[in-house]
């Protein structure tokens, strides 16, 4: 007779069952559809659909701009999180609420406001024209929109970790003769590194999938400022469902590999910080 395995925590069977059912309904089944659909075109058809120069340009822009925007958000998000957790100042609560605005604002509203600001006649756009910098309706516009939507992800990932960061470690560094810069580089940043990477990954993932705010400011010129999610919508509108699914699958695989790599990096960094 086999003895049932016993555990002190009850409910394993029930909770795991529900978890799997829910994950299947919400994530796995839609993903499976996405994986199966493109093959209507045949392997060669999928390949051809994905190696279209317009598709490659769109993927390059989506992933490139998202990575760059996340990288830009890293130092500024770090600074904001630092100020929000270290100091008490008038208007702090207001600033705290503002950080979440990019999350709460309908992305289309964000896109339209950014466009109005950065258009050649907008408040900021008008200032940039004499410098020869065009933001709206260029890839730079895509970057601006992605920086906007990605910021809260970096700030909100760092804040709890910074609150937990013991001030004593910094004080210890000071008594050992470290300058402020040395303390920052050798003590504070390494302790934050895993969270910085997590925040980067979250902002990147958000940027890759971002649609609403980008399409208004990007101008959507094929080969120049057209993002991959928009190309999917265009294919859907042309009833090219398999082609849309092929592009979706490509994005899925790329994102998955990217996040997997970032996750592994994060684990390596966090190994010794239980």
């Amino acid at each position: 007779m086999r003895r049932p395995r016993r555990s002190a925590l009850p409910g394993f069977g029930l909770t795991l069952g529900l978890t799997l059912t829910w994950l299947s309904l919400i994530v796995l089944i839609p993903l499976a559809a996405l994986v199966l659909r493109p093959w209507e075109l045949g392997a060669a058809g999928v390949w051809q659909s994905l190696t279209d120069p317009r598709v490659l340009a769109a993927l390059r822009l989506s992933f490139g701009a998202a990575a760059l925007a996340a990288a830009i958000n890293l130092p500024f998000g770090l600074l904001i999180a630092w100020v929000m957790t270290r100091y008490r100042f008038p208007g702090r609560r207001l600033a705290d609420a503002l950080i979440d605005m990019p999350l709460a604002l309908p992305t289309a509203v964000a896109g339209i406001s950014l466009t109005a600001l950065f258009a050649p006649k907008g408040w900021i756009g008008a200032l940039l024209v004499p410098l020869g910098v065009k933001v709206a309706y260029t890839p730079l516009g895509v970057l601006v929109a992605l920086v906007f939507v990605g910021l809260p992800f970096v700030v909100r990932t760092l804040e709890p970790v910074m609150l937990d960061l013991p001030a004593e470690a910094e004080e210890a560094a000071a008594t050992l003769g470290a300058t402020r810069l040395q303390t920052l580089c050798r003590v504070v940043l390494p302790a934050l590194a895993p969270s910085l990477l997590t925040g980067f990954a979250a902002a990147l993932a958000r940027g890759v999938g971002e649609y609403g705010s980008v399409i208004f400011i990007a101008g959507n010129m094929p080969m120049v400022s057209e993002i991959a999610p928009l190309l999917i919508v265009i294919r859907l509108e042309q009833f090219d469902y398999a082609g849309a699914a092929a592009l979706g699958l490509a994005m899925l695989l790329l994102s998955f590999l990217l996040l997997l790599a970032l996750n592994r990096g994060q684990h390596r960094l966090a190994r010794h910080l239980a």
């Binding site: 004593e168 470690a169 004080e171 560094a173 000071a174 008594t175 003769g177 390494p190 010794h272």
Partner: protein, 350 residues
């Protein structure tokens, strides 16, 4: 490395309305091992942090090795600071933690990387934890972390070592061993050390002198035996060891007690409220009637502990070896002639 003398004059620091340090004066000789003892909130840790330059007093001066520390930032004071919770750098190995103080030195003073590594290893060997060099702080025990924190603080060859409740987070047995070891370390290295504790046994066992703090002021600084035998005031008497208190009043050069009619002790205290304080072994019993009634007698080994009821309170006295214990229920008088009499002051801890 050689320890230096430390002189503190008139240090005052407030947090809001509460004074953490209140016109504090303290002089520590080179090579001395001094304990700061006091109830929580008495300003011990604040004093240590002000010395290290992590916090700043509003008034007063700090001299370390004859040099004023005004305008000297923490990183230039060369003070070894051991934090209560060690404050090790968790993302660095033990060896890197110890080497930190050397690695951040200005380039012209900094030893070669190989020399730094050798020095860190040497310090770890000295702390008897040479085998832990490549571990991370989360992978070693509390007592080992304490030693790493010490090694890290000593790496910069400090002239003054400050320890904030160094054994607070350790279990009793490890504590006892580390105490002896730390005192030996201090003597071998010729350091000047100042350490904070709220454990009086720790302070009295380890230190050359103990400074008793209350509400940001030093009540008494003395050697452990003098501190116990000759407390400067009622607070010190009650804070150190067991202490039995009788409230009374002084008039005409003698103190009288409402609880003990007929008892009168001569004193030089000014007229007014006063307290008489005694250790349990200093109270004598006078058989043959009196205000105290023997409740119980516990004799074990050389000691004889007698519980007495006196009006509405219970006091315990220790009778010297060889005295015959009274019978339970007997009434007796108290001999308070060994009492120390102080002007009225609030109770310890209140």
């Amino acid at each position: 490395m050689t320890g230096v003398a430390v002189t503190l004059r008139g240090l005052t620091k407030r947090f809001g309305n509460a004074a953490a340090l209140d016109d504090l004066h303290l002089a520590i000789a080179a090579g001395e091992f001094v304990a700061l003892l006091g109830p929580s909130g008495s300003g011990k840790t604040t004093l240590l942090r002000v010395l290290a330059g992590l916090e700043f007093a509003e008034t007063g001066t700090i001299e370390i090795g004859g040099r004023s520390m005004h305008d000297v930032p923490a990183r230039k004071r060369r003070i070894g600071f051991v934090f209560q919770h060690y404050a090790l750098f968790r993302h660095m190995t033990v060896a890197r933690n110890v080497a930190f103080g050397l690695e951040v030195m200005p380039r012209r003073d900094r030893p070669q990387p190989a020399a730094i590594r050798a020095r860190a290893q040497e310090l770890l060997e000295f702390m008897e934890i040479g085998g832990l060099a490549d571990r991370y702080p989360d992978q070693i025990s509390g007592g080992q972390r304490q030693r790493v924190a010490l090694a890290r603080a000593l790496a910069i060859e400090p002239t003054l070592l400050l320890l904030d409740e160094p054994f607070g987070a350790l279990d009793a047995k490890v504590r006892k061993n580390l105490r002896i070891w730390l005192r030996g370390l201090h003597d071998r290295m010729g350091l000047t050390s100042l350490f904070v504790t709220h454990d009086q046994a720790e302070a009295l066992e380890m230190a050359d002198r103990v400074a008793v703090l209350r509400a940001g002021r030093i009540e008494q600084v003395d050697t452990p035996d003098r501190l116990y035998a000759e407390p400067a005031n009622a607070f010190v008497h009650e804070f150190l060891g067991e202490s039995i208190r009788f409230d009374g009043a002084v008039s005409d050069g003698a103190v009288r007690f409402p609880l003990l009619p007929g008892v009168m002790l001569p004193t030089r205290c000014a007229a007014g409220p006063a307290v008489a304080l005694l250790r349990p072994h200093e109270i004598g019993l006078r058989p043959g009637g009196g205000p105290a009634v023997v409740e119980s007698v516990h004799a074990f080994g050389p000691l004889c502990r007698v519980r007495l009821r006196l009006a509405d309170r219970v006091i315990e006295v220790l009778l010297p070896e060889g005295t015959s214990p009274p019978a339970p229920g007997a009434a007796c008088g108290l001999d308070l002639s060994a009492a120390r009499i102080y002007p009225e002051s609030p109770r310890a801890g209140s």
